[in-house]
């Protein structure tokens, strides 16, 4: 159906407003990180000001209060992702390729873990990790994150493996390849894109998780998104620093989502909607 020019104009107008609503707050926070401290509580808000990098310098260069948190977030995110792969890949493969008793129940069990409120783990693990003298370690956080990353990766990876045509593996099987050769030589290379996409989403989930580090981290192992909260506790909220830290915390997930544009729908629905 051909659209008239004024319908087009109307649609573009509506989309512009929509984008303004959804991108505006992000841009406003970037502006907060760049604005002089004196204009933070101005009413009416100042839209024009001389931008300065002071807040970024303070948080990430000198003295770089939040720089170690950036490192911690990377360590925890990457470890949680790497730990979850060798557990999730074989499970997703088996669930996709073989007839398995109680497959439905198993998939629903994974799903229910994904949907469980993370706060319910907090108190038991707070006490367990304290008793084991593990509270504050990267390990404690990486381990608990597996309750989210493993079920997530199994669901998403299964959807990718489902799409690799079975014939290739059947051919390999007829040729006498054992399961190991089949998996490593045939299936893994074909599902590599899926594995990469899954890893990146698992990383974003771990990166954005605040509940676990909130009770399991100590000052030296706290993460970047949580670093914003620390400014909140100190006397007089330093909004410039909160904003600068937040912008840095937002950036990696945003870039990953931009890079994975094609897979965003699939990732967000654990593979249930192909997109």
């Amino acid at each position: 159906m051909k659209l008239t020019w004024y319908t087009k104009l109307l649609i573009y107008g509506a989309l512009l407003l929509i984008l303004l609503f959804f991108i505006g707050p992000i841009a406003w926070f970037l502006a907060l990180a760049l604005r002089p401290q004196s204009s933070i509580f101005e009413m009416p808000p100042e839209f024009l000001f001389r931008p300065q990098l002071k807040a970024f310098v303070y948080t990430f260069v000198n003295p770089g209060v939040n720089l170690p948190q950036l490192r911690n977030s990377l360590i925890i995110g990457i470890s949680a992702t790497l730990l979850n792969l060798p557990i999730a890949i074989p499970a997703a493969y088996a669930l996709s390729r073989y007839r398995i008793r109680a497959k439905k129940a198993l998939m629903l069990w994974y799903l229910s873990l994904l949907m469980a409120p993370p706060v319910v783990y907090l108190i038991p693990y707070f006490i367990l990790m304290t008793r084991l003298h593990l509270r504050g370690t990267y390990f404690s956080m990486v381990l608990i994150l597996q309750t989210l990353t493993v079920p997530f990766s199994i669901w998403l990876l299964k959807s990718f493996i489902d799409e690799v045509p079975l014939e290739v593996e059947e051919a390999a099987q007829i040729d006498g390849a054992n399961w190991y050769t089949q998996l490593v030589r045939v299936t893994l290379p074909l599902t590599l894109p899926g594995i990469i996409v899954t890893s990146m989403f698992a990383f974003v989930f771990s990166w954005n998780n605040v509940v676990f580090p909130l009770v399991l981290s100590r000052q030296e192992t706290t993460t970047l998104p949580l670093g914003t909260l620390n400014y909140f506790a100190t006397a007089g909220i330093t909004w410039n620093y909160i904003a600068a830290t937040s912008v840095a915390a937002m950036l990696p997930p945003m870039l990953i989502f931009l890079a994975l544009e094609r897979y965003v729908v699939r990732g967000l629905t654990f593979g249930a909607v192909k997109g």
Partner: protein, 296 residues
Amino acid sequence: MLTATNRQRLFPYLLILPSIVLLFALIIYPTIFVISNSFYFWNLQTSPVPQQFIGWQNYAMVFRITPFVAALRNTVLIAVIGTFVQFWLGMGIALLLTQQLRGMNVVRALLIMPVTIAPVVTGFLFRYMYYREGGLLTWLLLAVGIPVPDRGLLGVEGLSLASVLLADIWQWTPFFAVILYAGLLSISNEIVEAARVDGARGVTLFRLILFPLVWRTAVIVILIRFMQLFNMFDLVLVLTRGGPGTSSRTLAYNLYQEGLLNYNIGIAAAMTLMIVLLVSLVLNLFIRYGLKDWEW
């Protein structure tokens, strides 16, 4: 399906086993912990170990000393209203996006940005915009003549929950928009054209053709989002800490407050079980009615 010889029949199960063992190991401790401690009096500030067996009293205390009912009410309100609003706003945007105009891909890529942000950061975005002085939203409201209370939008009992919800709506409406858009695109053009030939237009076309066909996708997003809203914690932590009073306290925040701020481990354990029970109930309803014709 790949076939396995007799000798290999257990092989697929061996591949799944590590995930089951790990996840089971991770949840069995919290499960035993909350069940056993829900029957003990235990305040972590006075003792590092459970203090005294008190039977079912913790379960009664959940209602007597914590605002559990208010938190439940807030949680249900947030989950139901939030899912409803986000679904329909998202559907509206998705329908706009299906008008294949130039630049739609850019719009879609930008639109998803709020979804990528950690909810804690979203909390800060909105906390700043809600400020009485310097807050962008406060200023916009005042500019169009809507009065804003002196204590700000987060500081008033009647508005705090709605303000928390607005931040969530901002963050997750694009989630619905982008996924429903994908669902709408997957509807074959022939069906839509055939309906058009039969005279279906506008609302009729949507109600009779598009909506039923996109429903399968919709169920998934509604399920995911409803559960996430039901578990809402991060936004409350940053925006209001459940206040003023208990006006924006959710079940998850109530649990955190009782267990990790007041250190009443026994009461928190009882509350955990009640919340898990509620969540499983809701999830089972979804699975039974929403996913019933799902292929596995």
